[in-house]
């Protein structure tokens, strides 16, 4: 980012007008002036001038793509391009034929119009879908303008935060959002929540001292859009708008290119196959036509027609509808998808890089463990307090709980009696809040207990003492309670309470204490010590100077330790486990401390039980870290500092060597680097996060998943998917749905592709054998865009054939959406059977109307001669041109019905790729059954609706011609069952390799 050169820590521009200064003034006096100015603030006019210069103090929304470009993108996908080319070819063919004065050339025009219409309509659909989800996301934005307290010309003003300028003097207090990057001038107990920026869950103290060279680490800078949790502070605005740290990260995110989604890559691959086959077929038959002796232009028109016939017009609609159905299903499960194609991406994900705070954890401190009676007790950290409680019968617990209750300044906001404790709002810092809630849940109403033991005197926590103590009246005695950093607390204790007995604090107990402290600290928890002492009444009088209190607090009785942590969400461990069984690697990437990160990783299962880091191995084997074989350590924690020192390529090696990775103390750029490294290893990476610091990584990821409730706008903008309930477990649902839709899309595509062959062969036979055209262009359009759409979409509702969550993620290089066996099986086997069905029915209809098959061969020139009004059929009857034309329409219809009948069999076989149809359940997919009924009804309507012959070239055909293709349909069913049987029985065999798609 190059902070040094561009991030200035101080007001810029001309100095504000100062009191008139005479010559020879001394530096000290100038400083005095500046101090005065500090109190006075900026002059309104200067502020206005700077506002004009720097622009308003707000993040420029990422330059949104113009709506027309968004729409244009919807029209320029792989399939769309294929269809544009096809439409262009149609128009050329139309032009050529029109130029030749050819009758029936209007078909090509219709085809071109239909192709363009399909692209535009699906484009509108996709655009609408994107527009809708963008709207859902936009509704999260907080539209209420933020207010800031600013001092200008000595007056305290409330202005809109976006009017702040560099050099403004602002005041912040607990509950405020920091209105800009400010340097703290004075602070009283000010703490800010930097979690969205750095990932630290703990509140950070802000004070005027500069403690670090890095602006991110130093204490005297509070950042734009972070929360001030408590205390007050005054500061100078040093940067506004996009020049703030947050603004920088946001612009870093917008600089990251969006990756192509895996499904888009798959579709491009598929378009390559289609285009290749189309041109191969077209060229072959062009040559054939030339050899047969057609004129060049005519052969050219044939070529174009074949290429166009290869375009699966219905596929685009199918894919779009399937994806949006899944998007809708996901939305019901609280995953909103911004980009339709992202639906599938989650399914092919092989690595999830998850942020810790707020994603894996609850983002609130909670009491996790207690140590008393020389034993570590586990507290309930679940979000809904459904966990097990510990043994509370000990006397020691009575004392400890009393100290916890009394030595606490936090309190619930009023009027929340009916709210569950965990959800109540509290005034106080995070640890005190945790303790207050803990006490309320385990002991009972805290306010009542505090009422019984009125406070006499109190010394609040400060960084010198590192403890907090208070004295309470307890009947005829006084109770002194103290909590604080454990080692400081222990210094003041002389006894320890074990099972209600006060025992002298000897070396043995000290050791026990040290052990417990180290243990809890090692779990990444923040540990506090608690102790108490009974005092005779009147030892401390009301109104005693708090500074005198520490003198009384000696010889205390140690009660116990309480350890707090931001605990993992309850659903996360199971979700992580599910990801593991699904072959997805979960990597934690956080800005938080390594110890905390490791502890949480272990708690949620990112580092599984028994896995060791190199450090652990070194400690176990008592060897230096350098001698540890990385292969011995499954897990590894890498900090941002180590990452910064790594040579390029080293990170990939580490990612390969250790399956369980935790990255701690990482900066936004490093998150980006981690994601890119994973991608270089060939993984499809999902990133989950909520903070601003996650947004570049979210953008870079193949799929970025942002949290809907806790997530910042920057994160949501960068993400492709949003979890409305912030539940990591929803990702697992997403993965499952994504995998299902990949499988089902495969089936849909196989179904859709199959009929391409029976649509194409009539034309090929027409060219080579010169039979009357068996299938017309408009009829093909009806198959593609009308009757077959619903069944192909209904396959999206098919349930999974096996437990897809126990399979490995698909390998994007090997497991393609459309692979060779799929194309070959659909085109050259099922498609071939369908073609035979169509031709059988065609010849039946022709023969029964008077045209025997042998007569049909070579009949085309006379059949299509418009001047021939007395063409003899096989019985000697004479037909006019128009009578022949209607006979041709009858053939179209018969061929259409044949394809439909076979497609019913086809949709049934596509329900499964491996299982038998009977194992899957023939009628369990109700939508599919309805789709078949619908398909047949449309077929009937097209055939028997009056007027159809002259509008869409459908004839009311004889009823029995519906049955001619049925044996072929049955053949398809049986043949596919045999195929599946072979695939199931002989996995890995030649049969499996060639026929399993």
């Amino acid at each position: 980012m190059g902070k040094e050169e561009s991030y200035e820590l101080g007001p810029r521009g001309p100095a504000p007008p100062k009191a008139p200064k005479g010559r020879g003034r001394r530096k000290k006096e100038q400083l005095e002036d500046m101090k005065k100015e500090m109190d006075v603030g900026l002059v309104g006019a200067v502020a206005a001038e700077r506002l004009l210069r720097d622009g308003p103090n707000e993040l420029r929304p990422p330059r949104g793509t113009p709506e027309c470009v968004k729409f244009g993108r919807q029209l320029a996908g792989g399939l769309q391009c294929l269809m544009w080319v096809a439409a262009a070819i149609c128009l050329i063919a139309y032009g050529v034929q029109e130029g030749q004065g050819d009758r029936g050339s209007a078909d090509n025009l219709y085809l071109a119009i239909a192709l363009i219409a399909v692209v535009v309509v699906t484009g509108c659909f996709g655009y609408y879908q994107e527009f809708k989800s963008t709207n859902i996301i936009a509704s999260f934005k907080n539209l209420v303008p933020q207010q800031a307290t600013v001092i200008r010309e000595g007056d305290k003003l409330q202005i809109n935060a976006n009017e702040l300028v560099v050099g403004d003097l602002v005041e912040i207090k607990g509950g405020d959002r920091v209105p800009a990057d400010i340097r703290i001038i004075s602070a009283q107990g000010c703490k800010v929540d930097n979690s969205s920026l750095t990932g630290e869950s703990e509140p950070q103290t802000r004070s005027p001292e500069c403690t670090h060279d890095s602006p991110l680490e130093t204490r005297n800078i509070a950042f734009f859009s972070t929360m001030c949790l408590e205390g007050t502070a005054t500061g100078l605005v040093i940067n506004t708008g996009d020049r703030t740290i947050i603004g920088r990260i946001a612009s870093l995110a917008s600089g990251v290119e969006n990756e192509k989604t895996p499904i888009a890559i798959e579709i491009e691959h598929f378009v390559d196959i289609i285009a290749g086959l189309a041109i191969f077929f077209g060229a072959t038959f062009f040559v054939v036509a030339m050899v047969i002796g057609y004129p060049f232009l005519r052969a050219m028109v044939f070529f174009m027609a074949i290429v166009v016939a290869y375009v699966p017009e219905g596929l685009l609609a199918t894919v779009t509808v399937c994806l949006s159905l899944t998007a809708k299903r996901l939305a019901r499960k609280n995953c909103v998808v911004k980009n339709l194609e992202a639906v599938e991406t989650l399914g092919s994900t092989s690595v999830i890089c998850s942020d810790k705070t707020g994603t894996l954890t609850q983002n609130r401190m909670t009491v996790a463990h207690l140590w008393f009676d020389n034993q570590i007790h586990t507290a309930d950290t679940t979000e809904d307090q459904s966990g097990q409680s510990f043994d509370q019968s000990s006397e020691t617990w009575t004392l400890l709980s009393r100290v916890v209750t009394l030595c606490n300044r936090a309190q619930f906001k009023s009027g929340q009696e009916n709210v569950p404790v965990a959800k109540r709002e509290v005034i106080g810092d995070a640890s005190e809040t945790a303790l207050l809630k803990f006490a309320e849940v385990t002991v009972g109403t805290v306010s009542e207990a505090r009422g019984r033991f009125p406070k006499v005197a109190e010394l609040p926590f400060n960084s010198t003492n590192k403890f907090q103590l208070s004295v309470h009246t307890a009947g005829d005695r006084q109770l002194l309670v103290l909590k604080g950093a454990p080692e400081r607390v222990l210094e003041r204790c002389s006894t320890v309470m074990i099972k209600g007995q006060e025992l002298p604090l000897d070396a043995q107990w000290r050791e026990a204490f040290e052990g417990a402290y180290a243990d809890l600290g090692g779990r990444g928890e923040r540990v506090l010590g608690f102790c108490a002492r009974w005092l005779p009444a009147g030892t401390v009088a009301a109104g005693t100077d708090p500074e005198a209190l520490p003198e009384v607090a000696v010889g205390l009785c140690f009660a116990g330790l309480v350890a707090m942590i931001d605990p993992p969400r309850a659903t996360v461990p199971r979700a992580v486990l599910k990801c593991r069984t699904a072959g997805i690697r979960v990597i934690m990437v956080t800005g938080d401390h390594p110890i905390t990160a490791k502890a949480i990783a272990a708690a949620v299962g990112i580092i599984s039980e028994g896995s060791e880091t190199p450090e652990d191995v070194a400690a176990r084997l008592r060897v230096p870290l350098e001698q540890v074989d990385p292969r011995q350590a499954r897990a590894r924690v890498v900090t941002g500092a180590e990452l910064a020192g790594m040579e390029p390529g080293v990170l990939e090696g580490i990612l390969r060597a250790h399956p369980e990775m935790v990255f701690a103390r990482t900066s936004p750029q490093q998150k980006l680097v981690i994601v890119e490294s994973c991608q270089r290893l060939g993984a499809i990476v999902a990133v989950t996060g909520d903070g601003v610091n996650d947004s570049p990584a979210l953008k870079r990821a193949d799929i970025g998943v942002a949290m809907g409730i806790a997530g910042s706008d920057a994160a949501k903008n960068a993400a492709d998917m949003i979890l409305l309930d912030d539940n990591f477990a929803s990702i697992v649902t997403g993965v499952e749905q994504g995998r299902l839709i990949f499988d089902n899309l495969k089936k849909s595509i196989a179904y859709t592709l199959t009929k391409n062959i029976p649509e194409l062969t009539p034309y090929l036979i027409y060219i080579t054998a010169s039979v009357p055209l068996p299938l017309g262009c408009i009829t093909i359009l009806f198959i593609e865009l009308c009757t077959d759409i619903f069944p192909s979409v209904s396959l999206a509702y098919e349930r999974a054939e096996s437990d897809i969550m126990h399979l490995k993620p698909r390998n994007p290089r090997r497991d393609r959406l459309v692979n060779e066996p799929l194309a070959a099986y659909s085109y050259f086997q099922i498609g071939a059977i369908q073609s035979f069905a169509g031709f059988t029915d065609y010849f039946v209809a022709m023969a029964q109307e008077g045209w025997w098959p042998l007569l049909c061969l070579g009949l085309r020139p006379r059949w299509e001669d418009t001047h021939e009004q007395e063409l003899q059929d096989s019985y000697g009857q004479q037909w006019t041109f128009e009578q022949r034309r209607y006979q041709q329409y009858t053939c179209y219809t018969v061929f259409f019905i044949s394809i439909e009948m076979c497609q019913i069999a086809d949709v049934l076989i596509r329900k499964t790729r491996r299982l038998s149809l009977l194992q899957q359940g023939l009628f369990r997919n109700h939508i599919l059954v309805i789709a078949i009924v619908f398909q047949v009804s449309i077929g009937c309507f097209l055939c028997y609706c009056p007027g159809m012959p002259n509008i869409f070239n459908f004839m009311p055909i004889r009823f029995q011609w519906w049955f001619v293709p049925m044996p072929f349909g049955l053949l398809i069913l049986i043949y596919d069952e045999i195929r599946k049987l072979g695939v199931r029985r002989h996995p890995g065999s030649w049969w499996d390799r060639e026929l399993y798609y």
Partner: protein, 288 residues
């Protein structure tokens, strides 16, 4: 994904393609080993042999079930088409234009008629029987030779003035040309419901202006004994009955639109989609 997205140069693509066609390391030809290609080809060969066999079987059984004498359905042949001789097509339908003073222009037309009538010479018709009854010639049995049915004789002399016997130029040089109207054959079609259908020629759109026409045979009727037609197999020597029309008062140097309809029950001439059903329209222009 980065590796998957790399833009390849054209030469790289060609190289990849070459490796796809023949990969010397893995011995793969177009993604398969040669033996694998043999296997897959054999599989497909077997598959297509079986499918073709099934298809052939279907067609064979179709031909076994099809009636050799008459078609199962005549859905498109509700009403017969009508044709005209001589038939010269212009941009839009039949156009008979000729110039009396230029022999070449009408000799073509005359030749067409003469060629057409060669099928109606007594020699060509010698296998057919003479029919006299003005009723449908219904034959339920095969009375003809070789298990066929009999067909009635139609000879060109029945066309009298337009037979080309008395006037081999069919009246073309005089500006009173003969045209021959023929009705298409439809199996077991009974035109006219007992009364013989007749040809009626008028100007198109202008029915009031009289068109003077001589019809041959008399009244321009198709005698009922030529119907019904029993099909090629039953009546191999059947020939369509003809009606000749001779236009007597054709205005010279004007393009005239004439329609000849066949009037009779069961014959429709008002199908908007088929201009040759039950009628024939043509343009006639005689120049001098």
């Amino acid at each position: 994904m980065a590796t998957l997205n790399e833009k390849k140069t054209c030469s790289e693509r060609m190289e990849n393609f070459r490796r796809f066609v023949w990969n010397p390391e893995t011995k793969l030809f177009m993604g398969r080993t040669l033996i694998n290609w043999v296997w897959i080809s054999l599989y497909y060969l077997a598959f297509y042999v079986v499918m073709t066999g099934l298809f052939a079987l279907s067609i064979y059984s179709l031909m076994r079930t099809v009636n050799p004498y008459e078609p199962d359905y005549q859905d498109q042949l509700k009403s017969p088409g009508v044709t005209l001789r001589p038939d010269v097509y212009g941009d839009r339908g039949l156009q008979i234009y000729y110039n009396i003073s230029e022999n070449k222009t009408w000799e073509r037309l005359v030749t067409t008629l003469q060629t057409f009538l060669t099928a109606y010479t007594p020699a060509a018709q010698h296998l057919n029987v003479n029919c006299t009854g003005d009723k449908y010639f219904i034959q339920d049995t095969f009375d003809g030779p070789n298990n066929t049915k009999l067909s009635c004789k139609f000879t060109s002399d029945m066309l009298q003035n337009c037979s080309g016997i008395a006037d081999p130029t069919f009246g073309f040089p005089e500006g009173k040309p003969c045209f021959i109207i023929k009705m298409n054959r439809i199996i077991k079609f009974y035109p006219g419901n007992g009364t013989a259908p007749r040809v009626d020629c008028t100007y198109v759109g202008d029915e009031s202006r009289p068109l003077e026409v001589d019809y041959y045979p008399v009244n321009g009727t198709f005698n009922l004994h030529y119907f019904p037609y029993y099909g090629k197999k039953a009546q191999p020597t059947y020939s369509n009955p003809l009606v000749a029309v001779k236009f007597l008062n054709i205005t010279r140097n004007v393009e005239l639109k004439i329609v000849c309809k066949i009037i009779g029950a069961g014959i429709t001439f008002d199908n908007v989609h088929d201009p040759y059903e039950g009628k024939v329209e043509f343009k006639l222009k005689i120049e001098d």
